[in-house]
Symmetry: C2
């Protein structure tokens, strides 16, 4: 193959290949050799552009942060802004489920991570939140979004009949299945009427936004 035919490797191309692979095969499917393979290259070649696997993961995380959309501080109602931010964040986490456990764990946050945190804080500050209150509101909302994404990722269940069946299956091996009456009640209900993740997310979000609004008097 003529050398001109191959696009040169770059950190960006590597990260993009890696994120696609992770989206498709999960984090443990995203190995250096597979990423390289995807780019028609050997594993060790990646190390010219990436310090280590951990560095690569940091890059991926920052790419995900980059997908979170935020308005400008001071341009809108803070509740609307925070609502949009939470939704955008959830969307990004849904698109890249493997990232959920990684988002906050990086030793040195990338520029997109810094941007997100700074802007969110800014929105609250410009809306008149006292410093401590802004940090707290931000922390509570953030915790909620991550936690929700975590729950949602791990319930293999969507709200169809299969869900209830799966859960019932899980409970069966237990000595006395009726030892969990409330859980069984829940399963029956969901099997009958379904469970709408989006609606539940919104409901929880509104509840928290109201709590924040109220807590600053």
């Amino acid at each position: 193959m003529p050398p001109s035919a191959r696009t040169p490797l770059s950190r960006d191309r590597i990260l993009r290949a890696a994120i696609d692979l992770a989206d498709r095969d999960g984090l443990e499917g995203c190995t250096m050799r597979r990423i390289a393979g995807e780019l028609g290259v050997e594993a060790m070649s990646l190390y010219r552009h990436v310090k280590s696997k951990d560095d690569l993961l940091s890059g991926l995380v920052d790419l995900v942060f980059g997908e979170i959309e935020l308005g400008e501080p001071g341009t809108r109602d803070w509740q609307a802004a925070m609502r949009d931010r939470a939704r955008s964040q959830l969307t990004a986490l849904r698109r890249h489920r493997w990232a959920i456990g990684l988002m906050e764990g990086r030793m040195r946050p990338g520029p997109e991570s810094l941007r997100v945190h700074d802007t969110t804080l800014g929105i609250l500050r410009e809306a008149g939140f006292a410093f401590r209150a802004a940090v707290r509101a931000n922390s509570v909302l953030d915790a909620y979004v991550y936690g929700f994404a975590l729950q949602e990722r791990d319930l293999p269940a969507r709200a169809d009949g299969a869900t209830a069946e799966v859960m019932r299956e899980q409970i069966r091996p237990v000595p006395r299945a009726d030892a969990y009456p409330y859980l069984l009640e829940a399963m029956g209900e969901f099997a009958a009427a379904g469970y709408d993740y989006d609606a539940e997310f919104s409901a929880g979000l509104e509840l928290i936004l109201a709590g924040i609004a109220r807590s600053r008097r």
Copy 2:
């Protein structure tokens, strides 16, 4: 060595050794060979008592769920009960930071996990929550606790001077450090006055509890 001198292996002994190892060295330090080493045994011997590494992890997770303390449904004020539960859950997650990303991800939840979810639901139901409201309240609280634990785990920072220094360090490599004015403000504040995780957790928790109480009118 005389055979009577060695305690026989068992699933329970293995899980206990593994949880200690994970607490000490983190999840990636907790390999089959190391666990075995801790017990004076070869790696493959573990497979007599544990189906796979994943099975072992499920066992660990259920052990952590087992540390979450809950009262009996119907015996107390639901807010007090949920507050205690959230604190107990956070304590368990702090003790076993490696577990945070694993707690909800198991394909078949163990008996302790089922107990926790059932009892929490029960507390709310017995306090008069409608079915959907109980599930929602539980989900929001759960999300908050996991999310908070996640944030807390990943900020290597405690609220001392080192924290601000670390964060400042992280921002430095960025083109224009003053591109993050709100973040810098936050760092300055925390460096001066500290950041109390427990207090922040409580504040967020109360905010959510109030939101839940209000949302059911």
